[in-house]
Symmetry: C2
Subunit: 186 residues, 2 copies
């Protein structure tokens, strides 16, 4: 039992390092990934039989993290600005472990993963639609578009934080204000 947990933790650590390596160079070979993680190529193959298995595990883990984040957020929060701030504050620290949900390259065409992604999207889109009904958000724009913009913007701010162009603590406010208020001076 504790043995199994040890293995699981090691696997998680490996996943995290593999993710970081691939975020730096999406074309990294398995050998490069193993070196980066400080393990032998043989061990990498023991944990993940093939490249696809690794990519799938990374994607799945990324979805785990997002799902966990959503658990912590109150979707009944009536103020959409507070809601957005809360969720984005939660998501930003996930950093490059999220890279994979954005980069098409890694998209594993897997029914289960796609389904999970769609479920996440659906929760947001419904929340957005509610806010459209009660006039907090514009009604002349599709909720799906707003959702995609939100995630797209989060990916952009991740890069900013990663590149040191912005402090993580300032990120949520910038993202929320950009999305809700736009660039226009009023």
């Amino acid at each position: 039992m504790s043995n199994k947990n040890f293995k699981v933790n090691r696997q998680n650590k490996l996943l995290e390092l593999a993710t970081k390596c691939l975020a730096r160079n999406p074309n990294a070979s398995l050998l490069e990934i193993a070196d980066f993680a400080g393990i032998g190529i043989a061990t990498l193959h023991r944990y993940f039989p093939g490249r696809n298995d690794l990519l799938h595990a990374i994607s799945s883990k990324a979805l785990d993290l997002v799902e966990d984040s959503l658990e912590k957020v109150d979707f009944t929060q009536p103020d959409i600005r507070l809601f957005f701030t809360r969720i984005i504050t939660e998501l930003i620290p996930l950093g490059d472990r999220m890279y994979f949900l954005a980069a098409d390259i890694f998209t594993i065409h897997d029914e289960e993963l796609t389904k999970r992604e769609m479920n996440i999207a659906q929760r947001f889109i419904e929340k957005i639609k509610e806010s459209q009904v009660d006039k907090q958000l514009r009604n002349d724009m599709k909720a799906e578009w707003m959702y995609d913009m939100m995630f797209n913007t989060i990916f952009l701010i991740w890069k900013y934080v990663h590149d040191g162009k912005m402090a993580a603590k300032d990120a949520p406010e910038l993202v929320v204000s950009t999305l809700l208020d736009g660039f226009r001076d009023d």
Copy 2:
């Protein structure tokens, strides 16, 4: 002379098809690219000695297209909304030929290309800064951020148009309004 133009046109056509192929599958092999373009792998190598040469040419061509688009746009247009609408209308039809400027995967670490990208960015950033001074755009946000958001949003709408989620003609207004006005209902 006309012989040379024939070759150049053929090369352009090949570049376009290669780009489309890579946009669909960024890990496409050279053989897949050649097949997609309906030419032999030998011919592909004749035009582009190696994979990097091809990627470099694609990136360069993409920058050509953006630069050409900028040429058509009046940067002295004082109304920033009209300016944004104009430039985005110009950029959207470039479609997946632009994919490469967004996807990190293809980033060729090439001084010349980086320089050209930076020049393009600089023109926009200066325009944005001017609009901040005359109170058309918010002053509490870095111009660089607005620029990155703009391109990021254009990439997103490209996907929408490509996937048939949106008519190309409706795209510019949505992008401009999203960026300038935000999601908030007011």
